[in-house]
Each structure stands twice: as C-alpha cells, then as structure tokens.
C-alpha cells in the first residue's frame, strides 16, 4: 500500500513529462496547446491527489461518515481548471488570427515570414 502511494505520484509525473515533451517538441501551434493542456491536467491530478485521505469520503456532509478528504485542493483546482480553459481559449483564438494573417500555423513557416518582413 505504501509503495502504491508513491506509484501514483510517479505516474502523474510521467503524464506531466509527456505533456511537456509534446509541448516542447511540437512545431505546430495547435499541438503545442494540446501538449500544454495535457501538462496542466496532469498537474491538476497531482493536486487533487494531495487532498485524498485514505478511507476518507467525498467532502459532502453525510450521516454516518466521520472522515472526509480535504476539500481545499478541490477548490484550488476548480479555479485552476477555469484559468486553464481561459488561456486555452485565448491561445486558440490567437492561432486563428495567426492562420488568417500568416496562412500557416507551423512555427518554422511563421518565423520565416517574420524574418522577411
């Protein structure tokens, strides 16, 4: 059980790494956004796991239940999810404008055009 407690964290870390790798390696702007979202979602999972109490239950008061998981991380992540989707929406609308103005969403092609202008 003790070991399992750490396995969870390491899986989250691998998830974060894959999101971050996708973000760094992609040249396509939409793919970068997808990678960033994966990265953030994995961070959210990590956060939520910190509030989990073994044998705890959902933090909604119910008769007959004594121990609840800590609701604080839940509130933080609610906020963080909203912030995440807000920046995703902004990023995607920037991509749409970039596509309109440059005709491409590949980083290399955009850079090449910027150097020329």
């Amino acid at each position: 059980m003790e070991f399992l407690g750490y396995i969870n964290y390491w899986v989250f870390i691998v998830l974060m790494m894959s999101g971050f790798y996708l973000f760094l390696s992609a040249r396509n702007l939409v793919k970068k956004i997808i990678g960033l979202n994966l990265f953030q979602t994995s961070v959210f999972i990590y956060y939520i796991s910190t509030g989990k109490l073994r044998d705890g239950s959902v933090p909604i008061q119910t008769e007959g239940i004594e121990s609840y998981s800590n609701p604080l991380p839940h509130v933080l992540i609610l906020t963080a999810i909203v912030v995440g989707v807000a920046s995703t929406a902004l990023g995607l609308s920037l991509i749409l404008r970039i596509k309109d103005d440059y005709g491409s969403i590949e980083e290399d092609e955009i850079d090449a055009q910027d150097v020329l202008s």
Binding site: G5, Y6, I7, Y9, W10, V11, I13, L15, M16, M17, F20, Y21, L22, L24, S25, A26, R27, N28, V30, K31, I34, N37, L38, T41, F44, I45, I48, T50, G51, K52, L53, R54, G56, P59, I60, Q61, T62, S67, Y68, S69, N70, P71, H74, V75, L76, L78, T79, I81, V82, A86, T88, A89, L90, S93, L94, I95, L96, R97, I105, E106
Partner: protein, 353 residues
C-alpha cells in the same frame, strides 16, 4: 477494489498520453486530449473530488476539445515532421523536469496518508468539521469556494471575463457595413439537413438548460455551483448552435446582450463585496447581509454563485459564437473561391475558343 480501479485508470491515462505524443494526426491528438480529460475526471471521482470531476468533464472534455476541433477545422490537420534534434532536446528537458519532481516526491507523505500535513493542519479540520456547522451547508466545497476563499473565486471570474473580452477583441466579428456575400446554401444553415439530429436535440435542449438551473441552485447540497451550471447552460446553447447554425443562434441570443451579461456577472460578484463594505464588514464578508450571520452567508453565496454562473455561461457562449462565426466566414470564403475557380475553369475554354 478501489486500488484496481485506480490502477486501470492510471494505465489508461499513460497509454493515452503516449499515443498523444506519438500520433502524427492533429485530429486524433485533439480527441485523445478529450479522452484524457474524461478519464482524469473519472480519476477525480476516485479521489473524492466530485465537484472537480464535474468541471473537468464539462470543461476539458467538452469546451476545450470542441474549441480545439473548431480551430483545427479552419487551420487543417496537416503536421509537418519534427526535426530530430529538437525532439532530443525536448526529451532531455522533460526528463530534467521529471527528475526534479521525482526528487521532490521522495520526502512526500504517501498518497492518502492521514499523517500528511495536509490533513493534520488545523485548517483541514476547520474546513471539514467547523464549516458545515458554521455555514449550515453540507457540501464543504461550496462555502470554501464562495466564502472562505471567495476572493480567489472573484479572481477566477475576472480571468473568465478577461478570456471572453480577449476572444472578442481577437476574433469577434465587427459589425460590418458591407457584409460578406452570403452563399445561398448557408443562409438557413441547410433547412433539410440533419433532420434526425434536430428532432432529438430539440427534446434534449430544454432538459439540459433545466439541469443547469438545478446545478446552479443545488450547489449547497451536492456537487455543482455557478461555474458548472454556467458551462452546462452554455453547452445547451452550443448544441443548438451546432444544429441550427450560428446565425440562427445569434438571432436568439444576440452577441451584444452576451457582452453585457459577461460584465454584469462580474459586477454582481464585486457588488456584493462592496455592499458588505458599506454594511460595515470586510470585503466579501456576507455575514453583514442579514441579521442572522448564517442567513447572510447563504444570501451572499447564492448571489455570487449567480454572478459566476452568468459570467461563465455568457463567456463560453461568446467564445463558441466567435469561433464558429470565424469558421463559418472561413468556409464561406473558401466555397466562394472554389466556385469562382470552377466558373473560371468552365468559361476559360470557351473564351479560349
């Protein structure tokens, strides 16, 4: 049993993340992200975070994925191959990131350990034991979100507001004096198309909107609240827009009205805080709203949740409208161009002869 579910979900997540890294197709990467969100929402339920699960399912799987798909529809699915050197560099940086984090986990309390500082710190007891008594609200997330850390939520609403204004400023359609020539078939969104879908969705949309109101009002007792309600409400409108065309939807709820609603929600929230100051309390101290502090808290929480709900619903609808209108203009221009090209191809041999 819980452990088995946990392990299966983690395996799912790992394979999805791997597939997303490997795939060359942007469409499948976007879909994989949506599935990743959905599975992580399930994991949130296992980890006792039902409110978060609801939000992640609505936002990650719903809104984010749809936004990515609409973007892809106008940018195309093509991905040029990545240079190998960059991939190696990216891998190295991610490994450094992972190594730092693994180093950080070494001294962490294990998952769910009751001795962890997160559970032994007095505020944890406060939130789970004092709060239900003090507030009279069974769902501990709601008072924490709306009152103890209500200022964070005000900030969160401001972030949503910023995103709405930002999307409008970036791709919002300005009221043109000379509108694009509308291709005839686009005018009514194709009245005969998707008959089955339309019939079914017409039955679904009212329950969705009703459910949004339920989630809005029921946040004190079960999972839910202003944010989730706003997203669900917006997704009902989104469904309508998908089937009946964005022009039709824009006629029913005008973008100008939405713009005002975005501002109104944030103002309601902040206004409650200012009223509290005028009543002699601290900013967002709802206890000043009524003679009985607990009643005041209830009034305050209901009002600010309403503000959050209005802003979120209006912002998400605005964002979807803007994206869809942008795409519609894009497709229409392309159709016009294609048609002109076809006309030119038809006329050119004659003129040549």
């Amino acid at each position: 049993m819980g452990v088995a579910i946990d392990i299966i979900l983690l395996l799912f997540l790992l394979s999805i993340a791997f597939a997303a890294c490997v795939t060359r197709n942007l469409f499948s990467a976007a879909m994989l992200f949506g599935i990743f969100s959905l599975i992580s929402a399930t994991l949130f339920v296992v980890l006792d975070a039902v409110d978060v699960a609801m939000t992640e399912a609505a936002v990650g799987t719903g809104v984010s994925t749809i936004l990515i798909l609409i973007t892809l529809a106008s940018t195309g699915y093509r991905v040029s191959p990545r240079p190998a050197g960059r991939q190696v560099l990216a891998l190295a940086v991610s490994v450094v990131l992972g190594a730092t984090m693994v180093y950080g986990t070494l001294d962490m309390p294990s998952l769910g350990s009751p001795d962890a500082p997160v559970h032994t710190h007095p505020i944890a007891q406060y939130y789970t034991e004092v709060s239900p008594v003090e507030m009279g609200i069974p769902n501990m997330v709601t008072p924490l979100l709306a009152s103890y850390r209500g200022y964070d939520t005000l900030g969160e609403t401001a972030v949503v507001f910023t995103a709405g204004i930002g999307v409008l400023a970036l791709i919002g359609r300005r009221r043109r004096k000379d509108p694009l020539p509308i291709v005839e078939e686009f005018r009514e969104g194709g009245a005969n198309r998707h008959r089955v879908l339309r019939v079914i969705s017409k039955q679904l949309i009212p329950p969705i909107l009703l459910y949004a109101c339920y989630v809005q009002a029921h946040g004190d007792f079960g999972p839910g609240g202003g944010f989730q309600a706003g997203v669900i409400f917006a997704s009902g409108l989104m469904l309508f827009m998908l089937l009946f065309g964005v022009e039709h939807a824009r006629r029913i709820i005008r973008p100008v009205v939405l713009e005002k609603l975005i501002a109104l929600g944030l103002l309601i929230y902040g206004g409650v805080g200012l009223v509290n100051i005028l009543q002699g309390g601290a900013f967002l101290d709802y206890r000043t709203l009524a003679h009985d502090p607990q009643h005041g808290l209830h009034y305050g929480i209901l009002t600010i949740e309403l503000g959050v709900g209005i802003t979120v619903a209006a912002v998400i609808t605005t964002i979807i409208y803007s994206f869809a209108s942008h795409l519609r203009d894009h497709v229409m221009q392309r159709t016009l161009r294609l048609r002109q090209g076809a006309d030119a191809a038809q006329t050119s041999p004659e003129s040549g002869a």
